[in-house]
Amino acid sequence: MVTLDPRPPEAAPKPPTVVPVRHWGRATAAVVVLALLGLLVAGLIVNKNIDEHTVRQYFFSRLILHGVLVTIELAVISQAVGIVLGIVLAVMRQSKNPALSGTSWLYIWFFRGTPLLVQLVFWAYFGSVYAHLTLGIPFTHLHLAQVGTNTLLTNTVAAYVGLSLNEGAYMAEIVRGGLLAVDEGQTEAALSLGMRRGLLLRRIVLPQAVRVIIPPTGNEFISMLKNTSLVAFIGGKDLFTNTQTIYSNNLKVIPLLVVASLWYLVITSVLTVGQYYLERRFARGATRTLPPTPIQRLRALLVPRRMVTT
């Protein structure tokens, strides 16, 4: 018989005192690391060039806050479009039709193989490659609509387009990995119930793939957030663009870079917490018991540990 809770023998004698093992090497390393960290923090506080007064002055300034907003918008929307694009590309990649899988491969090859900065600048200058964008029937003179490229593809739009298309290529590989991680048997079971490909993907395979997809996507999102700073090269009005604008006027470069860095850190920290809860939610069914939330963990740390004696 297999039982899940092996009961302790009845009327157990008084439990012996447990002496935990001491990790001397680990403790020494911790002391050294903490000492170095202390020196670093002290050095930052003492250093006059950091100029914490300026940092405080600009941290909540209108231009910086506006930049933060634009950065968040850019990151969230481009990441969302990138995810959708990634799913489409990943599914295309698995297609038995070589035209579909080949196109997907080519896309990923191109957008992963060229620098994001180059792509952004390219989209900003797209107007000089194609002056007009036309909606019509190819190889005829039937034009339904025509606009100048520069009216449509403003620098802001170019920023979104550049970041999204680039992200799509990375997400495609992440999603593909997630799809491959789902057991073949799941597909067979779903097919044998009469499900068709679309339903199967939506209801059975993707929800399971999500578990595998979330951690690298969280990573991608954090990269995306920082990569938005590249749009400063095409006047993207984001946090970094505005930081540059301010310090090119008052020449307080380092304090303003500290302001920007602190804001990036704040946003990534919020994202990290969000990712944790998302992972927990999608772990449903995958593990028997969910891991504790950070708050539960904190509580466990604060409440003194007791020897478990039942």
Partner: protein, 253 residues
């Protein structure tokens, strides 16, 4: 009685290797047929052909009077579309050795998924029927459990309920108890026994000779991609005619 499964000279190759060399097999409606045979003899492959999970390379295969994967159109055979294949599959239940429950759905969710999404039946009705099915497999109290929280035997019974929820005309079982601890096998076999008693048409690949002897109307012995012999359980299991059957039974019993 009309034939539920009608296979005549069914051939199946993977690449250049032929693994089914012309299978002849009939399952009448309401009949329980047990398929025995050594590992690699092609039992799973044949079952998967019946369910359209694999396409056949020769011979003819009909389920409930319909060709598998094709449609007769005058003197032509037209390949079925995805939609038609899916519709046919929805009338055939399949139970796998490793259950393949959907891990992100509860027991109830697993059972309700296909009737709701494929048959587009109202959720309330489906839930009621699903609860009745859970009761039938003895797991009504575990309806909210996720597969990872269930034992193998419980998972397999949920998998059977999931297949039954589509009201199939035919149930295929591929070694439903082979992955289970010995003490869990009985519960699953009980459920299958009940199904057989209720008149379900069943094609069962199994190594449970006792179950075959007791429940099967007919036993079919396969080896190396061919049917070696078939007949009533007493005859095939107790007085096998073919040497290969004798050899296999000697090993299993």
């Amino acid at each position: 009685m009309s034939a539920s499964v009608h296979a005549r000279g069914v051939r199946k190759s993977y690449g250049l290797v032929e693994v089914l060399h012309g299978i002849d097999l009939e399952v009448a409606a309401g009949e329980v047929v047990c398929l025995l045979g050594p590992s690699g003899s092609g039992k799973s492959t044949f079952l998967r052909c019946v369910n359209h999970l694999e396409s056949i390379n020769g011979g003819e295969l009909e389920v409930a009077g319909e060709l598998v994967g094709y449609r007769r159109d005058g003197d032509k055979l037209r390949e079925l579309t995805d939609r038609e294949t899916a519709a046919t599959r929805s009338r055939i239940g399949m139970v796998f050795q490793h259950f393949h429950l959907f891990p992100h759905l509860t027991a109830l969710g697993n059972i309700m998924e296909a009737p709701v999404r494929v048959l587009k039946r109202p959720k309330q009705d489906v839930r009621r029927d699903a609860m009745a099915l859970l009761d039938r497999v003895g797991l009504a109290d575990r309806c909210d459990a996720y597969p990872s929280q269930l034992s193998g035997g419980q998972q397999q019974r949920i998998a059977i309920a999931r297949a039954l929820a589509m009201s199939p005309q035919l149930m295929l079982f591929d070694e439903p108890t082979s992955a289970l601890d010995p003490e869990l096998v009985g519960d699953v076999l009980d459920v299958m026994r009940g199904l057989a008693k209720d008149g379900m048409t069943m094609l069962v690949v199994t190594h449970e000779i006792g179950f075959a002897r007791e429940v099967a109307d007919r036993v079919v012995f396969m080896d190396a991609g061919l049917v070696v012999e078939s007949g009533p359980p007493r005859q095939v299991l107790d007085e096998p005619r073919e040497a290969r059957t004798k050899e296999f039974l000697a090993k299993v019993l």
